[in-house]
């Protein structure tokens, strides 16, 4: 177990370094974008004197490294700084955007895991037969439809034609739980592609595992089919799927811009999109920290779970 503990410590340390690198990179890239917050704010009235005044009011006239250093010093104390555009604390941006994002992600994952694994196992059990071919072709088809198109299609059919569900979550703000009907379509759209990739991964893993010598051996010993499938083959088939699941959760938490825009859900993706357009560097950096930490933690978690499921695969830092 000490080996595992030192592995976790090493990974966390590496994660901190990775997050710092991400933040520095994001800062450099945002600075490299043409124009700054003052230019973006001036919009169609780019009077140079006005831009200079805005720049001064936003303290953008100071050198970049100074602004970065001040922001980093604040971060050490847990202070994410303030938005240059609105003067409001960045933590407020993050907190308000995180709620809807987390809710969507949690619901999606809660449905994704049983659906993805269930379909995968089902297809593998009936390999080559009707159920398998049906599942495989449907998942492939759905996977090929872009989210935006699927979203519009679902809205048109279920919200506008049939009138069963609200077309958007407009006006519900962060209080989405109070309007569960408005969440159904966005979750369905979010679910569509990950379910397909997960199911196909699980199927492939199961098919491989069931054909592996150890499964054949187990059967030869007379162990029941269900036990071979679920106690022996499934854990080995799951390891790659868990990594995929971690990537999906990461994607869900780091802002699903298309779905947020289509259904008017004010999550982190919307915050990010606006912040980049406004060149609001502190907000972009705050998001980079959050996304960096999330990615590191999720991948570490996935590695640990995979290790548990298939210890022989070993862990590579």
């Amino acid at each position: 177990m000490t080996g595992l503990r030192s592995f976790v410590a090493r990974r966390l340390l590496l994660g901190v370094a990775q997050t710092v690198a991400v933040v520095l990179l994001v800062f450099a890239l945002t600075e490299a974008l043409p124009g700054d917050a003052a230019v973006a704010l001036a919009g169609d009235q780019p009077d140079p004197a006005r831009i200079a005044a805005i720049r001064e009011a936003m303290h953008l006239d100071r050198p970049a490294y100074e602004r970065l250093a001040e922001w980093a010093a604040g971060l050490v104390h847990g202070d994410f700084g303030t938005s240059v555009t609105s003067g409001r604390p960045v933590s407020q941006y993050l907190a308000e955007g995180f709620g809807p994002t987390l809710l969507l992600a949690a619901l999606t994952v809660a449905l994704l895991v049983p659906a993805g694994f269930g379909l995968g196992v089902l297809a593998a059990r009936h390999e080559g037969r009707l159920a398998d071919r049906l599942i495989s072709s449907v998942t492939l088809t759905v996977y090929a439809v872009p989210e935006f198109a699927l979203g519009i299609l679902l809205v048109t059919v279920f919200a506008l034609h049939l009138g069963w569900l609200p077309p958007t979550a407009v006006g519900y703000g962060t209080d989405l739980l109070a309007h569960p009907a408005a969440l159904l379509l966005p979750v369905l759209v979010l679910l569509s592609r990950p379910v397909c990739s997960l199911a196909r991964l699980v199927r492939a893993g199961m098919v491989d595992a069931l054909a592996a010598p150890y499964a054949v051996h187990a059967r030869r010993y007379g162990i029941g089919g269900a036990r071979v499938r679920y106690a022996h083959a499934l854990p080995n088939a799951l390891a790659p799927a868990v990594q995929q699941l971690a990537r999906t959760i990461d994607w869900l938490l780091c802002g699903v811009i298309v779905v947020e825009a289509l259904f008017v859900i004010p999550g982190l993706g919307t915050v990010l999109l606006n912040a980049v357009a406004e060149r609001d560097v502190p907000v972009v950096q705050g998001l980079a920290v959050v996304f960096g930490v999330l990615t590191v933690v999720l991948n570490l978690g996935a590695d640990l779970v995979a290790h548990r499921l298939a210890p022989r695969a070993g862990v590579a830092a």
Binding site: P34, G35, D44, D47, Y93, G173, A261, P266, L273, V283
Partner: protein, 529 residues
């Protein structure tokens, strides 16, 4: 922000226009609707909409500015900002459908003979906390806008006012001292963002106090703002109990929310959406004509456009009908290389320019510019820009001109094209013709994208500003416009409609007011049938 959302208000209103002494009480006096939906004095806008009914909540969807949004009216930048600002606050004047200044909080204004001192009398109005609107509030608001450290948008508009010398002459009267004669002073009072806030107000995020028809109930930046009827509004209480502004940046989301009954008013729709729903009875489509000028800006201080024959050739290359049909999906009217079609002082007597490739070729040949190659800057910053660029490229090819279309960043487009390049896509929201001239066509203009620097043109502008008589002034504007028509730097090919959608039960929505004028997004005159 999505593509639709950053239509930064094409509109920095500026300066002057008006009569020597407009007595606003007379022109607007008839509008004092009783709050209880009394004798149905329809304000002449939604004619045929029947008698106003009181009550209800209207939800209006706009493209917005995300979590950075503010209710500070002096920071208004996007259409959503302005719609909220005009619900909560008032200006001293605002623009009518022909972009002439109409009195609002100012009851009347009167100039001295030299047009450099103006007496403004305020009407009796109260802020939402019950305090009267006074001369001190006005002076505080204008001084706040003009603060050199802030960079508020309306600062440039207020530039002609000497705010140190201007002073209150009574509780409701102010003497504005100007730096130079300004016949169009009322345009300044109507300027974009020149809202009146209570003296010493600095914070606007928590229940801001204004004198507008609605008072703030709650505000969640980037999501929603709920305002309630202000019963003591000077022009009569609104019909609606409440108005909620919600933010939906994606056009499809605004349409879907409207079709699904989640909102009753959707701002800024695509022409294709409008066509699809125009006559099917589900929703009402409102087209506000002449809302956005569309054109190309040629930099007249550098080759090849420093030769006026090249500019004239370009005027003749444009097939305006094709541009309107292609770039605006037909939702608009063709232009005649002059700003402000349908607005006060517009020179509508000049012949409509048509495509004439033969003459264009001849002019280019005279200018020694055969086989001309030009780069046309464009960007997805405004609807129709990239389409207009490619259409014009093909039109120019027929006249032997090679246009290379270069697509730039939409976040910084306006700043990028101000000084660099030679030819770019350009658009502008509604503003008085005089403001268009003073902002863009004088030597000292802050956003002179065509680099139109002509001492005699500047002098004509000053002459207009020193001319008290409206007719005489109109003659000067006509001369200036003839000059721009002949060899100016703006190739103005069209004027886009501004398209709204409303639920069928929404009544009293004005159908004539271009975006940004008084009656556009004016929810105190709207009711739910």
């Amino acid at each position: 922000m999505t593509e639709e959302s950053d239509t930064h208000l094409p509109f920095p209103g500026l300066r002057r226009r008006g009569f020597l002494a407009a007595t606003g009480a007379a022109s607007l006096g008839a509008l004092a609707l009783s709050g209880c939906g009394g004798p149905g004095s329809d304000d002449g806008k939604g004619t045929g909409d029947g008698r106003p009914r009181r009550g209800g909540r209207l939800r209006a969807a706009f493209a917005g500015g995300g979590a950075s949004e503010t209710l500070d009216p002096h920071l208004a930048n996007l259409f959503a900002d302005v719609a909220r600002a005009k619900a909560l606050f008032d200006k001293l004047a605002d623009y009518g459908a022909d972009l002439s200044a109409q009195p609002r909080l100012a009851e009347k204004w009167q100039a001295n003979k030299t047009l450099d001192r103006w007496q403004v009398t305020l009407r009796k109005a109260t802020f939402h906390n019950g305090k009267p609107v006074t001369a001190q509030d006005v002076l505080y608001s204008y001084r706040r806008i003009a603060d050199p450290t802030k960079g508020f948008r309306a600062k440039a508009s207020l530039e002609p006012i000497d705010l140190d010398a201007s002073h209150a002459t009574g509780k409701r009267s102010i003497e504005f001292v100007l730096k130079r004669p300004t016949a169009e002073f009322p345009n300044i009072l109507a300027a974009f963002g020149a809202y009146i806030v209570p003296e010493n107000a600095t914070a606007f995020d928590e229940k801001p106090i204004g004198s507008g028809p609605f008072r703030c109930v709650s505000f969640a930046p980037g999501r929603s703002a709920v305002f309630r009827r202000y019963d003591d509004y000077w022009e009569g209480a609104p019909h609606l109990d409440e108005i909620e502004f919600v933010v939906a940046n994606e056009e499809s989301a605004r349409v879907n929310a409207l079709l699904g009954g989640q909102v009753e008013y959707a701002h800024e729709l695509d022409p294709t959406t409008a066509r699809a729903h125009e006559d099917n009875g589900q929703i009402e489509i409102v087209r506000l004509r002449n809302s956005a000028m569309q054109g190309f800006a040629m930099k007249t201080d550098r080759a090849p456009f420093d030769d006026k024959r090249v500019r004239q050739a370009f005027f003749l290359i444009a097939d305006r009908k094709e541009l309107v049909d292609g770039a605006l999906s037909g939702a608009g009217e063709i232009g005649n290389d002059l700003f402000g079609k349908g607005y006060e002082y517009y020179a509508d007597g000049l012949p409509q320019r048509e495509q004439d490739l033969g003459r264009a070729r001849a002019l280019l040949k005279q200018a020694g510019a055969e086989r001309l190659k030009v780069t046309l800057d464009t960007s997805a910053v405004a609807a129709g820009f990239t389409e207009a660029a490619t259409i014009f490229r093909d039109q120019a090819a027929k006249a032997g001109v090679t246009i290379d279309v270069k697509t730039g960043s939409k976040d910084t487009y306006w700043s990028d094209i101000l000084d660099s390049g030679t030819l770019c896509c350009y658009r502008s929201g509604a503003m008085p013709i005089e403001a268009h001239i003073s902002q863009r066509l004088l030597t000292g203009s802050t956003t002179n994208a065509t680099k139109w620097h002509h001492k005699d043109f500047d002098a004509l502008y000053q002459q207009a500003q020193s001319t008290p008589d409206t007719k005489d002034r109109a003659a000067v504007y006509a001369r200036m416009q003839r000059r721009l028509y002949t060899d100016g730097g703006f190739l103005i090919w069209g004027f886009a409609d501004w398209i709204l959608g409303t639920a069928r039960k929404v009544k009293g929505v004005d159908r004539k007011a271009p975006a940004n004028t008084l009656d556009w997004a004016r929810f105190d005159k709207v009711w739910l049938a």
